[in-house]
Amino acid sequence: MTTDTLKQSAAAERKKIRKERFAQLRKNKAFIVGAVILTFWVLCALVGKFLVRINPDELGFLNGVETDLAPNATNWFGTDSNGRDVFSRVIVGSRPIIVMATLATVLGTVLGASIGLVSGYLKGWFDVIVMRILDAISAMPVLVLALLALSAVGGSSSVVTICIIGFVFTPIIARTVRAAVLNEAELDYVAAAKLRTERMPHILFKEILPNVLPPIIVEFTVRLGYAVFAIATLSFLGVGVELGSPNWGSQVADHYNLIFSGLWWSTIFPAGAIATLAIGINLIADGVTEAFEL
């Protein structure tokens, strides 16, 4: 084979594989649906303020807007018991949950991946001790832990919520990464790195990490879905997010008892928002898992 044909075939092969993988993702309807949903909510989180005509925090009853108004042409999702526009609050309320869920998951992934890398690479006593500590952490229920921590700092704090969720996710991600690292560390390229006097940080982060990225990405998307639920639950319980700004969990919490009076809209729409976001993320997680052939 000549240089030119080699050149072409190598480049073409790469392009082809990428194209085929992408085509496969595009054919995966579930993934497309998930991507559309997530894109929608991310857009809302980014520019939601400019998308709505009514200020979500405007207390309608002060301006003569009726409270508990059923969905109509002006208030598409109706108004809540304070006369605030439910539609605006759902759209704008996407920001805190998406930002917090992402930060919490990133925190858990970074911590977990680092611990998993070191633990899986060193093995031995270090590994045993670290894994037992992680087992102990994962034995604690998320909500109890979060409620304890939040009441210790005296109420709602999104920073504490993010840290707690990240902390609880750490063992789960660490375990996944460790399992992948145990396999990778046995491969000869790690021995080859040692045979050119590389130090441990290089071997962990430059050699092994890139090879365990697929499971990390999959685990990240799965955790993101759980984080959405955890944050919604905490804000439903009245902790987790500072009061004031619109957020889905507290919207549900404030109005769910009105469902029985037939005033369903101020509860169902934010609840539906939580559900669609979680489902969207999970559909993406499934698609990503399949694309990586894990």
Partner: protein, 674 residues
């Protein structure tokens, strides 16, 4: 019995769906196997051998489908029969033996239960199943069958597990037995025994056999007829002797020329290769499938697929120019003029290993894997290391490299300087001076790094160069390995096996090594690629005057590339001498058994010298000579009492030829000449 062929494939086409697209792996294969006949399928990896084997059982992976043609078993079309019927056939009439016997057994269930299950499936009452299982294991000559029934698969050696699988496969007295590389993972001595067993059982039962192997020697000794597969198409077929003696397809000719065979040596000969690589899975091939790599291809070959040309005795070749195949030009010049290796015998000493031992501490007690190994190696010399698995070859290599730490008292010197026991104790230049080429290039190269980065990083660290300088040097180095510049920016997953191994070799040469350990560097590669890599290693040696420690289980390869050979058994050197002496004898009895177990491609019959029993555990080596419980020559030697009580020393029995054996050399010569 029917007179129909046991198995017949008619224009069979199979495709695998990968990333959403169907890719053809079998391109219309037609073959038939008569009752009682053994049919071999050979070819390089990815040519569709295993797919053909699984298709014969109508067992394809989830993404595989039959897209054309038909499969007939004893005249019955089984291409599209229902699941119940195919299950019935697999239970009663067709059996399969797999490549990895340990993986083919369920690790959580005792062997006895797994074998009994087969008989229960056949409708035997469960109280008879135990006795039948016992009989089945005895039939495949498993020693201590009763005890084996009680064991779990991980407690069996590879050879024993394969016997168990064969026993299970034969339980139903099948009319067709499919063997998919049944001995590929086994040591040569065990392979020879398993092949003997299959041959005997076949003579006894008259079962038709479809035998898949990449090893032409194995096919030669096992099969009546052979089919050569390339890129999913049968290119040549006929009686085994005919095809291997008078190949009529350029691919078969090429394959046979690639193999290092008796007599060829790096000092005088270069191996021929087949240029290029096989077409990718599912490629569209309008003409002859082999045209891109064929030395005698004409323009018509690109456009018109050739038909089978019938030759004598049912020998047929699918080549329009088959008369020219045997005399086709070589891809590589056959002789080597530079005096490679000649200087090695007179050059100065590079490596000296003195009393190297390695003990692994385990809960159940210490296991001594290497026992006082002493060796030396000259500059530019190649030392072949052979021995069965567990003989300590790889441990020896790891100790040389400093990956594992030898026991206290072991001394390794390189160029007169004592090397540190571990990598930490060695300077960067010392680390660079002793490098390795790993067995499996897939695992040896980081699949997320580019070729350039892999090589340049090694130069950076080992030669202490800046990144830019390292990249310049890497360019040159990769060019020397014939890795095209355009491939420098791709990742290893986009390279073929041979190219990957070239990159790995380039990396091992990054720190200007004096000694390179080659740990089975070609065993994961196809023969045509193997020839390429061996030629490259020899070229590098003559250019750089580097020394090699070459580990391989393939004795043909070791013989070709080695100046001297050390034979290891249970962590001890049993024999050490020049390649010629070790192969021509008189041998150590262990070497003799190893050499005689290799199936010859040319069909020449050797007297098989068998080792009895299994390799003993290094945790508990036998009293006296460690070989004595298995030694083929101890009985009748007159020194039995010594063999069982005193461990012999490694002594220089004749100039340059060391043996660890109580039997005098003259007596060994006499026995072996018979």
């Amino acid at each position: 019995m029917s007179t129909q062929p046991a198995l017949e494939l008619r224009d069979l086409r199979v495709a695998y769906r990968v990333r959403g697209i169907d890719r053809e792996v079998l391109r219309g294969i037609s073959l038939s196997i008569q009752p009682g006949e053994a049919y071999g399928l050979v070819g390089e990896s990815g040519c569709g051998k295993s797919t053909a084997a699984f298709a014969a059982m109508r067992y394809l992976p989830r993404n595989g489908s039959i897209t054309g043609g038909s499969i007939h078993f004893e005249g019955q079309d089984i291409t599209s029969i229902g699941d119940d019927e195919i299950r019935e056939l697999r239970t009663n009439a067709i059996s399969m033996v797999y490549q990895n016997p340990i993986a083919a057994l369920n690790p959580t269930i005792r062997v006895g239960k797994q074998v009994a299950e087969v008989f229960e499936l056949l409708g035997k009452p469960s109280d008879e199943a135990h006795d039948l299982s016992l009989a089945a294991l005895k039939r495949v000559q498993i020693a201590d069958a009763e005890a084996v029934l009680e064991r779990y698969p991980h407690q069996l050696s590879g050879g024993m597990a394969q016997r168990v699988i064969i026993a299970m496969a034969l339980a139903s007295n099948p009319r067709l037995l499919v063997l998919d590389e049944p001995t590929t993972g086994l040591d040569a001595t065990v392979e020879a025994e398993v092949l003997d067993l299959v041959r005997e059982l076949r003579a006894e039962t008259g079962t038709a056999v479809l035998f898949i192997s990449h090893n032409l020697g194995v096919i030669r000794t096992m099969c009546d007829r052979v089919g050569v597969l390339y890129a999913g198409a049968l290119v040549e077929e006929g009686p085994t002797d005919e095809v291997l003696h008078k190949p009529n397809h350029p691919y078969t000719v090429g394959l046979l020329r690639c193999i290092p065979r008796g007599g060829l040596h790096k000092q005088t000969d270069r191996l021929d290769t087949i240029p290029g690589t096989p077409p990718p899975l599912g490629a569209t091939l309008p003409g002859c499938v082999f045209v891109d790599r064929c030395a005698i291809a004409k323009d018509t070959c690109r456009t018109t697929p050739p038909n089978f040309v019938e030759l004598a005795n049912g020998h047929r070749a699918r080549c329009a120019f088959h008369e020219q195949a045997a005399s086709m030009p070589r891809a590589v010049d056959g002789t080597r003029s530079s005096g490679i290796g000649n200087s090695a015998s007179s050059s100065s000493e590079l490596l000296n290993i003195s009393k190297l031992s390695k003990t692994f501490a385990q809960d159940s007690g210490d296991v001594r894997v290497l026992t006082e190994v002493s060796l030396s190696l000259r500059k530019g010399e190649t030392l072949g290391l052979v021995g069965e698995s567990g003989s300590g070859k790889t441990t020896l290599a790891k100790n040389l490299l400093g990956i594992t730490q030898p026991d206290a008292g072991s001394v390794i010197t390189l160029d007169g300087k004592t090397l540190g026991a571990t990598l930490r104790d060695r300077s960067a230049s010392e680390v660079g001076a002793v490098q390795i080429v790993f067995q499996n290039p897939d695992s040896a190269l980081n699949r997320r790094h580019t070729v350039m980065r892999i090589v340049a990083r090694a130069i950076e660290k080992l030669a202490g160069k800046s990144r830019d300088e390292a990249e310049d040097t890497a360019q040159v180095l990769l060019n020397d390995m014939s890795v095209d510049p355009i491939l420098h920016s791709v990742k290893p997953t986009q390279l073929s096996g041979g190219l990957k191994q070239r990159v790995a070799i380039a990396r091992s040469f990054a720190g200007r090594p004096q000694l390179v350990v080659c740990d089975e560097p070609t065993s994961a590669l196809d023969v045509s690629v193997q020839a390429n890599i061996l030629n490259l290693l020899v070229d590098l040696q003559s250019k750089e005057n580097v020394s090699y420690v070459f580990i391989s289980h393939d004795l043909g390869v070791v013989r070709y590339i080695s100046d001297r050979i050390a034979v290891l058994y249970l962590g001890r050197i049993m024999e050490l001498g020049s390649a010629e002496t070790v192969f021509n004898g008189p041998h150590h009895p262990y070497t003799e058994a190893l050499v005689s177990s290799v199936p010859a491609i040319d069909g020449s019959q050797r007297v098989r010298v068998r080792l009895g029993g299994e390799v003993p555990s290094p945790a508990n080596p036998p009293q006296g000579c460690v070989l004595n419980p298995r030694c083929p020559r101890m009985a009748g030697s007159g020194v039995e009492h010594l063999c069982t009580s005193v461990e012999p020393d490694l002594v220089e029995a004749e100039p340059g030829h060391f043996l660890r054996c109580h039997i005098p050399l003259a007596q060994l010569r006499q026995i072996q000449d018979k």
